[in-house]
């Protein structure tokens, strides 16, 4: 397999509040290869958005700080990069689409203004050229009457249109990596289908690698090649889409899949994971899922399980699979060449 374009290695992002330190991201490692779509799945508060913000070096500091770990983008460590260097990378080589299309555009500037700004920061082109490429981009993302829309303000567009503008902006400099943080959560299903279709097209045609952060397993099944499941700041399972959805190993992933109401399934009582998501905490001993786990035994409460890896790249953080995955090595010992 080729060299990953983006590598997150043992990332720890902590938030410091008045009286405690919260490990929102606690030792996360993710590889993203060229042309690949990797999904990060988890419920609110599991650290998936903080992971993506950490990659972009956009974690608000204070209160947040990357206390440990490395993020390699094409061999360069982003955690060491200066703000000036980061600004060159952001929007140019790595772009991000945020969840809220309503709030991520500036209401005081026209769509054209905002797109032209993004283009001119990274490319040496005249305003006129930038405007024509802005119109071209809007056409590309399927906005009707693009030449009029460039002169309109965000409030004149619907949610789906605004999200398309965000995608156009993110694609303006042909980034190699696109981080999409819940890009369709605020949208209706028919619009969601349009946006996912668009992202898939960009991935196929331009070989853009996509890191898709979502809580919707349906979206994951449609879009992703590989999936990383997060729980309470840690990766609990990683594998290909088929492995995760068809043969989940970790009790949390299993519960998550079983608790989905299925449009195809017959009437049966929904499974539900008891309890609620535990907030990450530094003095937590043992597996973070143990309080909600059906299979928890004594060891789960005392010791934190390592992420076990199979040769195929399949990873599970659970004591139940220690025997099954004999040849596995703990993820922290993985070497990055």
């Amino acid at each position: 397999m080729s060299e990953p374009i983006l590598t997150v290695q043992d990332l720890h992002t902590h938030f410091f509040t008045d009286n405690k330190e919260v490990p929102a991201v606690d030792g996360v490692s993710i590889d993203l290869h060229k042309g690949e779509v990797v999904g990060i799945v988890g419920e609110s508060g599991c650290g998936k958005s903080v992971t993506s913000l950490s990659i972009m070096q956009l974690v608000p500091n204070p209160p947040g700080k990357i206390v440990n770990g490395n993020i390699y983008f094409k061999g360069k460590n982003l955690t060491d990069a200066s703000e000036k260097q980061m600004r060159k990378i952001r929007g140019n080589e790595i772009s991000m689409i945020f969840q809220e299309p309503m709030t991520s555009l500036d209401p005081l500037f026209t769509i054209g203004n905002q797109l032209i700004e993004a283009i001119r920061i990274h490319q040496k082109v005249s305003k006129k050229q930038a405007k024509s490429s802005a119109i071209e981009l809007l056409n590309l993302v399927g906005i009707p009457r693009a030449s009029e829309v460039v002169d309109e303000f965000p409030h004149q567009l619907s949610g789906g249109m605004r999200q398309r503008v965000m995608i156009a902006m993110a694609m303006s400099c042909d980034p190699e990596v696109l981080i999409a943080d819940e890009p369709t959560t605020a949208l209706d299903v028919t619009i969601q289908a349009q946006i996912l279709d668009l992202m898939r097209k960009l991935n196929k045609e331009k070989q853009t690698s996509i890191l898709l952060i979502t809580h919707d397993l349906g979206v994951v099944a449609e879009m992703c090649d590989r999936v990383v499941v997060m729980y309470s700041g840690k990766v609990v399972e990683e594998g290909t889409v088929r492995e995760i959805l068809k043969d989940p190993k970790h009790p949390y992933t299993k519960g998550l899949i079983r608790s989905l109401p299925n449009i195809k399934a017959t009437d049966q009582k929904l499974y539900s994971i008891p309890g609620t998501v535990m907030r990450p905490s530094l003095d937590q001993v043992g597996c973070r899922f143990a309080p909600r786990c059906d299979y928890a035994f004594d060891r789960c409460w005392e010791e934190n399980p390592e992420l076990l890896e199979q040769d195929t790249g399949r990873q599970v953080r659970c004591f139940l699979y220690e025997k099954e995955i004999e040849r596995g090595v703990p993820s922290n010992d993985r070497t990055y060449s």
Partner: protein, 322 residues
């Protein structure tokens, strides 16, 4: 066949658009435009549709939390639109609502005790001891503990807050509960807990739900019959199995095909609709869906299709079937 508990006929709700120097009405938003359906006792009727299709407005108009512009709503034979506000207030004892946002629908300054006991007080339970007992009982019914009564809403998670909202709705033993997107603000694992709880309560207290949601798989799971709304109108209504196996209206078909399924092996034909939902202040003439419909004919642009039976109890508003 059981009697319908709720009968909605030709319900309309238009909101005025105010403009100009004198704030005159310059137009109307037709949020709900000629909506008719019935709900039988003990059943769960799901209403699905995209944002802006008028499903929440319909829910609120039924309870007269928003005054409907036209049409009638009959609850157990009484026409609600004729009642005075005092009579309506009395009747709301039997009809309750659960809101979407568990963070906004509970007063942050009141303790849970007060939030749940307020409807009891309003409907005449004067003794504070009785109320305390009832609150305790309600909390246990929805899966919380009695000691939670002395806490404030911010001390609870989203799922727990939604349970408090449910307890409040149950306080006066209602017959009908309108659930306005009760699980859309919740995480998947919590969502399934609340859905299960709502089903349990239905069986236990013989409740009737009107379940409004935008998530088709949730609606499919919980409902007996499902109605699909588009731009203020009902386009299709039938029992859930027929609807999901044999959808007739082109909009329903597109909606179903757009739902992502968490199974990589499912191959299916996806219908991607062009464009956005038109504005309800200026809805298209004829069939409201004709601007996005792949099968649109000339007649669709001019004549509004009637909402009629095409099969046994399968109502569709589309010229293709008439």
């Amino acid at each position: 066949m059981t009697e319908p508990i709720l009968e909605v006929s030709h319900l309309k709700k238009y909101f005025d658009i105010k403009g100009g120097v004198f704030g005159k009405s310059v137009g109307e938003v037709k949020a709900v435009d000629d909506l008719s359906f019935t709900v039988n006792e003990g059943e769960i009727l799901g209403i699905v549709g995209e944002s802006g299709c008028g499903k929440s407005t319909a829910g609120k108009s039924i309870l007269r939390l928003i005054e409907p512009t036209d049409g009638s709503v009959k609850f157990e034979g009484t026409d609600l639109t004729d009642l005075t506000s005092e009579e309506m207030r009395q009747l709301r004892k039997n009809m309750q609502i659960i809101f979407q946002d568990p963070y906004a629908s509970l007063n942050p300054r009141h303790k849970v005790e007060r939030i749940i006991s307020e409807p009891l007080l309003v409907h005449g339970m004067k003794s504070s001891k009785e109320r305390k007992e009832r609150v305790k009982e309600l909390l246990e019914i929805v899966g919380l503990e009695a000691y939670h009564a002395s806490r404030y809403p911010h001390q609870f998670s989203g799922g727990q807050r939604q349970r408090i909202g449910i307890a409040r709705a149950l306080a006066n033993n209602p017959k009908l509960i309108i659930c306005d997107e009760p699980v859309s603000a919740l995480d998947v694992s919590v969502q399934s807990q609340i859905l299960n709880l709502m089903e349990e309560l239905r069986d236990k207290f013989k409740l009737t739900y009107v379940f409004i949601a935008h998530d088709l798989s949730v609606v499919k799971h919980i409902s007996d019959r499902v109605g699909v709304m588009y731009l203020g109108r009902m386009v299709e209504l039938t029992d859930k199995h027929t609807l999901f196996e044999d959808p007739k209206h082109p909009y329903t078909r597109a909606l179903m095909s757009a739902v992502p399924i968490a199974d990589p092996d499912v191959e299916r034909e996806r219908i991607i609709l062009e464009g956005d939902v038109p504005s309800p202040s200026n809805p298209p003439t004829g069939c409201a869906f004709h601007t996005r419909c792949p099968y649109a004919m000339d007649i669709c642009k001019e004549v509004r299709p009637e909402f009629e039976n095409v099969d046994d109890k399968h109502l569709v508003a589309c010229h293709l079937y008439n």
